[in-house]
Symmetry: C2
Subunit: 317 residues, 2 copies
């Protein structure tokens, strides 16, 4: 018994995090609110932790991974859509003209998603995502996209759950694009994923019911949408929120207003060598107002370069 207790006490739940202010702040908060004798104790039912996904649990450079998926889908479907040869933003996708594609901005991206993520059943879409993950490779690391998840964040998710936090994803990405793989990769079940969604319809289908995906937006889980999505899906204000861009600011503000003690965490991409360095001027994952507000309010900021020993699980010995 003595041996076991010593082991537990001495083991480090966050071995890929360097010692320092960030790691201490996280562990101090979690120990404090999980301690039933602390005045900051939070009952288990209220230990809600929400995590942004793109650029926060996995990388998002050189473009959102869901955009690579949408591009592959558009190419796969192009033979059924001869009009795409002459219609933007499809034309630039088919011509591998990423510069022109980028010029269409968020609206162009949404058009690609609508056209390529709808028209099939939810089960068919799940299979398409699964097949893509099994075959597609990231242009820089030549690894499946879902291996580009952050090892230190995997440890943080485990650590929170070991302390009876319920962990959720709250992402601007597509909810059904994430659900097929997040349980295996993050240990987060499908019903604990909040994301952007398109409308669906029920089809009795002669006794073989299916849900069909429609080319119509249902919900955008970004900025103000994040607290709205949290209220809609979770129904409780989080006590721990983690993000990496201005799109997460409202989620962090909302969490900060909890009457329980709460923790706000921003991941700052500062590692131009092992990952990417970007913040205020980036088109992807812009972190500007959020950085100012984090500094003002004393929220915790992860300095990727200095706080993390390793980035991805495949880099572990």
């Amino acid at each position: 018994n003595v041996t076991i207790e010593t082991e537990v006490t001495e083991s480090d739940p966050l071995p890929s995090w360097n010692e320092g202010a960030t790691k201490s702040a996280i562990m101090d908060f979690v120990s404090d609110v999980s301690n039933s004798e602390s005045q900051n104790f939070i009952p288990i039912a209220d230990r809600i932790a929400t995590f942004d996904n793109d650029g926060n649990l996995w990388s998002e450079q050189p473009a959102y991974f869901q955009l690579f998926f949408a591009i592959e889908r558009v190419k796969a479907l192009a033979s059924e859509h001869p009009e795409w040869q002459t219609t933007q933003p499809f034309k630039s996708v088919l011509e591998d003209d990423m510069k022109t594609l980028a010029s269409f901005g968020e609206h162009g991206l949404l058009e690609l998603v609508m056209a390529s993520h709808s028209g099939m059943t939810t089960e068919e879409f799940e299979q398409i995502v699964t097949d893509w993950l099994a075959t597609a490779k990231h242009p820089r690391f030549d690894k499946p996209y879902n291996e580009l998840v952050y090892q230190p964040m995997l440890e943080l998710l485990d650590y929170l759950r070991a302390n009876d936090f319920k962990t959720f994803i709250v992402s601007g990405g597509g909810i059904e694009f994430m659900r097929p793989w997040v349980n295996e990769v993050y240990g987060i079940p499908t019903d604990q994923v909040v994301g952007s969604s398109i409308a669906t319809e029920f089809d009795y289908n002669n006794g073989n019911p299916v849900i069909r995906r429609l080319p119509k937006l249902d919900f955008i889980d970004d900025k103000e949408g994040k607290p709205i999505g949290i209220n809609k899906y979770i129904g409780k204000k989080p006590v721990f929120a983690s993000g990496n861009s201005d799109g997460d600011l409202q989620m962090l503000q909302y969490t900060d207003s909890n009457s329980y003690p709460s923790f706000q965490l921003y991941l700052h991409h500062t590692d131009s060598v092992r990952e990417w360095a970007y913040d205020r001027d980036s088109h992807i994952g812009k972190l500007d107002k959020g950085l100012d507000e984090a500094n003002e309010k004393g929220w915790t900021i992860i300095d990727m370069k200095n706080d993390w020993k390793v980035i991805y699980p495949f880099q572990l010995n």
Copy 2:
């Protein structure tokens, strides 16, 4: 050790259910799919069980309990709305004219809900629901509404969870009307509640962020809406679905199409003495097509009068 094992084996997880075909069918299914050596074994992550609420986990007569709540809210707000004295359906509420109120049907009910469930923050609404439950009494039983839950169904929820099923509510009722009390009463956390909802907006509120409820419909979780809501919130097809009306039929059909073995359960209100007896011709909780399809497909039907030893927890010795 021997004593403990005997106790567990001999204890009855469903003591308020009479022995018979219904109880056996439930227990046979749960034992079979939880047994890792059975060919019907279902992995824990896929053991999703969905329950309708009104008339299935608690009573719904002489009117939906949420209608009693809406009526009380309309009366409480009437002084701020002099126009309601002469505008239907509000006029009939203020005159206690339930017959005229009923003539406005679902649409009238929706108007009452919009007017009385919006305009406040989500936290204010939660407090209003909690206060109502603490003071309002059911007209027949003179008990708080959330004591009119079905003891046998509480046991079924516990039994399923003891066998690693994840239990969800999937109800046509308001999601935020249910969330304040369902964890205490049913052991179901707020994020495992699917229901009808109104739109909300995020208000930064000078650094004290709140979510405001708007008089605008967001989602109706009934009929085709139930499988759509299940896909939206849970992201997995259930293996166990329980309801009491034609509004649950699509949920049961959807569950029945699971590639795993699945269980469909209808509660038939047959007890005119201890509860109410109603089915094909009822305006509330109409069970007509569902009853035919249950008989055709061999789904399990609870005969409330004969299958249940007791209806409500307060009737236990």
